[in-house]
Symmetry: C2
Subunit: 184 residues, 2 copies
């Protein structure tokens, strides 16, 4: 398997080893020893699964204070554009984003350390997104930055985005509050 650095420090793209045979395929989507050896030395305490229709944009979400979450992201079915925005105050790439297609076909994973805003858009008819978190969900600690923020200027590669009501009521990137965000 491979752990590839990106232009944003600590943000990694992972390519697991796949074993295809006459039945289908098999792969380890997580292995504590191997991922630690690859630099991901966190304990994971929660796994999430979501399914979404084409055009859905979930995000951009982040968690404040002690509830900051690192997320190991993968796509089990379909294809998404996965997006991580560096909002770590003090980071040289603060305000920059990295995006990558994750799909059942490529089986790439994206490791997003604590201190990022995260979102994804669905490029296939449907997609099942699966991720492991280094911290528990806490409703009151979740924040949304508007997905089409003009400063971030993210190309989500979808027309007519489907967005939750909560995410339509999101703040702008300019409004994010230094106080409670992860310091690098």
């Amino acid at each position: 398997m491979e752990f590839k650095k990106t232009f944003i420090e600590d943000l990694l793209v992972i390519k697991p080893d796949i074993f295809p045979d006459e039945r289908g395929y098999f792969f380890e989507s997580f292995n504590k020893k191997k991922y630690e050896a690859g630099g991901i030395e966190f304990q994971f305490v929660q796994d999430n699964v979501s399914k979404s229709k084409k055009g859905t944009v979930r995000g951009l979400h982040y968690q404040v204070g002690e509830y900051a979450q690192g997320k190991l992201c993968s796509v089990i079915f379909g294809k998404v554009l996965d997006v991580a925005v560096d909002i770590r105050f003090g980071s040289p790439t603060f305000g920059k984003y990295f995006s990558i297609e994750l799909s059942e076909e490529n089986k790439f994973q994206l490791w997003i350390p604590p201190g990022f805003a995260h979102g994804f858009s669905v490029l296939s008819d449907e997609a099942i997104f699966s991720y492991k978190c280094t911290n528990f969900y806490n409703k009151d600690s979740e924040r949304s930055i508007i997905f089409n923020d003009e400063d971030l200027n993210i190309d989500w590669k979808v027309e007519n985005p489907i967005v939750s009501e909560k995410d339509l009521r999101a703040i702008s990137f300019k409004q994010i509050n230094k106080e409670f965000i992860y310091q690098r």
Copy 2:
């Protein structure tokens, strides 16, 4: 969410809470606190994903000695018949099996503690099976019991089973060696 006992001690069926909305659905497929509260007090160190064609039977597999694995099983896409055989020497249900349909539709999970043989058959055109393990994979510690063993007499609900070469060379239930198996 719900943790339901089965007729085999320690073997549990889990029904996660599902949140559907206009985008699709969301659910927590694992949460350390909630699963511990439900009685699953293990550390998980490896996650596996496999995809298989209709009729595939994977199993029956178990791990000997210190490599015994507890497995939290779920189906992300499609439908399988999941089967756990109690091979814990000393267990009142030794040699008995429990089977249950797991599917994307019902989102049930099966918690199989260490000391069981495990297998599943694929009932839908394709199925993606996902499971968390309490121990690392060790090739030399894996054993296969033949899926169509006459003593176990499991109804896999498939015609023309697709089985790996390794699993066709499996031993019978009668041949399992007391020495290295989990003692209850």
